[in-house]
Assembly symmetry: C2
Homo-oligomer: 335 residues x 2
């Protein structure tokens, strides 16, 4: 297991889920048999259950966002592998409201297939099911890449905003429309100076020369199209903000929510230094950075890197963003 503290590599996720359930016993329940984490205190006003999930290794995503004001349930897969459609079906049936269930799905083939099969089964049981597909990673935005943008950091913002909207009693079709709108307002980009290590093999997922930066890395260690040689944070931030702003067609008077997200192995000093550069660049463009989040929200095991997510907010999305929530990992602030 090399660098990993574990009993048996295969059991790391299961042991972690048991610990998570123990730490947050008053707020969430881990259903080991059916494979999902469920919120114990959802708002009684909800008419639609919110379910997400995906491979493990991205904690606190999604488990940490199960709770009052965010997700009703999350289905963890094995490390970097989609949850089984049985898990998603069981979770969805358990938390569906009178207007059904909404799936928040990151844009990866395995997740799409498994959430899709679960949705078909739910439909056969007469449970309405909608989907919001999160695809924010501009590193895979290209006509040559048929699968489109991957889903990464924006997922947290989508889960927060949809949670607050669901708490108002919003119906399924309006939630789908809102979530789709929010996804369209978000773009992310990730860089790494060292790959994650695999819990199974103890080896780094890829090797980088000293000082090199993988520009556009994926949260499962997908290699980027570009490996940069050593460059200052200032130059790097300038490239990243330009790529995000261009893809978003960011208006000069935009209100921006900025997420500076650690991928697992980076220091807080660096994340705050990144935030300093990025807010300066946004200022220069005339955009207002109206909210900031700094910390580890969507990780890639122990990858040494960070992602930036920009959301071009409007007053409605900001109000949902600001609504109170109480989950293991949402504090609505930097950490």
């Amino acid at each position: 297991m090399g660098l990993y503290f574990a009993n048996v590599a295969d059991e790391l996720v299961g042991d972690a889920l048991a610990g998570f359930a123990r730490a947050h016993a008053g707020d969430v329940r881990w259903d080991e048999r059916d494979g999902y984490v469920r919120a114990l205190k959802p708002a009684p006003t909800r008419r639609v259950g919110l379910v997400s999930g995906g491979g493990s290794g991205h904690e606190p995503l999604h488990l940490g966002y199960v709770g009052t004001g965010m997700l009703d349930a999350a289905c963890p897969g094995r490390v970097f592998a989609s949850p089984h459609n049985r898990q998603i079906f069981a979770a969805s049936r358990a938390v569906a409201g009178e207007d059904g269930v909404l799936h928040v799905v990151k844009n990866y083939t395995g997740d799409k297939i498994n959430f899709g099969i679960a949705a078909e089964r739910l439909a056969r049981e007469g449970i309405p099911c909608g989907r919001v597909l999160v695809d924010d990673d501009v590193a895979t935005e290209s006509a040559e890449i048929a699968t489109g943008r991957r889903g990464t950091g924006a997922t947290v913002l989508v889960e927060k905003i949809l949670g607050a909207a669901a708490d108002t009693g919003m119906g399924l079709s309006d939630l789908v429309a809102l979530g789709t709108d929010v996804v369209g307002r978000c773009r992310s980009l990730a860089v790494a100076s060292a790959a994650h290590t695999s819990p199974a093999t103890g080896q780094a997922a890829f090797d980088l020369p000293a000082g090199a930066i993988e520009y556009g890395v994926g949260i499962h260690g997908e290699r980027a199209r570009r490996t940069l040689q050593e460059r200052s944070l200032r130059d790097l931030a300038e490239d990243m903000v330009a790529a995000l702003a261009d893809s978003l067609r960011l208006d000069a008077r935009a209100q921006v929510v900025l997420l500076v997200n650690g991928l697992g192995g980076i220091t807080r000093l660096e994340l705050y230094a990144v935030l300093n550069e990025v807010t300066r660049l946004l200022d220069k463009r005339g955009a207002s950075t109206v909210r900031t989040l700094v910390g580890d929200f969507v990780t890639a095991l122990d990858m040494r890197g960070f992602s930036l997510t920009l959301m071009a907010a409007d007053d409605a999305t900001l109000a949902y963003y600001d609504a109170p929530a109480d989950t293991p990992a949402w504090c609505g602030r930097a950490g």
Copy 2:
């Protein structure tokens, strides 16, 4: 700079402080000239200002605990170096209340000297000044080590509890007594599977063979007295809990606050798996784990490891622990 994202290694701390101030502009102010971070909204009931500080590289300690209900000010030094006594003096004078100022000091020679000089200067100005020395690390608990136990994870608990007590209007001598009592209730121990990398040199602080564990590492990369060969998390946790419980003389019916703290480069999966083992071991001893914290609270740059802190709580300390606080990094919960 190797793995670090920075402009110039020397400027990383300054850039991070600027970013921190930007991210939390409504709640804290960074006084760059005098070198301290100050809370903007302290409780009006406080009669004593709470000041801490220490080397940078341990974020969110101490900056993240400046705010309503915890510290009034924190003085960051350079990476792993004590703040200058001028910073501590300026911060203390700025936040001193009618009953003076209390210094929360981790047990390191440089910090003790600089806080001591500041205290002498405060006394000459007629400002009462007390000190709580935090010394919780059992790795340096030995008759042969004259400097005694180092100050590590317990610092967060001490800052939280003293903050809540200060908010009740408690006077200086009572706060010193309470803080000293809390320190006596806490013990910590840290392990690492890989050292941190130095921002200045880009090199690992020390090398470990694959699978080896530095048992009793310090938060500045101080080597331990023992390097263990590969062992399961279960066996490791058993050794650690026994060492902590022995040093605390933990009663079979104790109420325990458990902090599972990431040192910077470890995954959340591992931290939750650690929590699972430790709570099981505490159960076995008959102790009640009444509160748990999981996440990065006191880091050692990007060190790949974790620390455990146990506090043998009583009802009074728990009530202070549970009191609301609003700081950049205190959520009173796992993250």
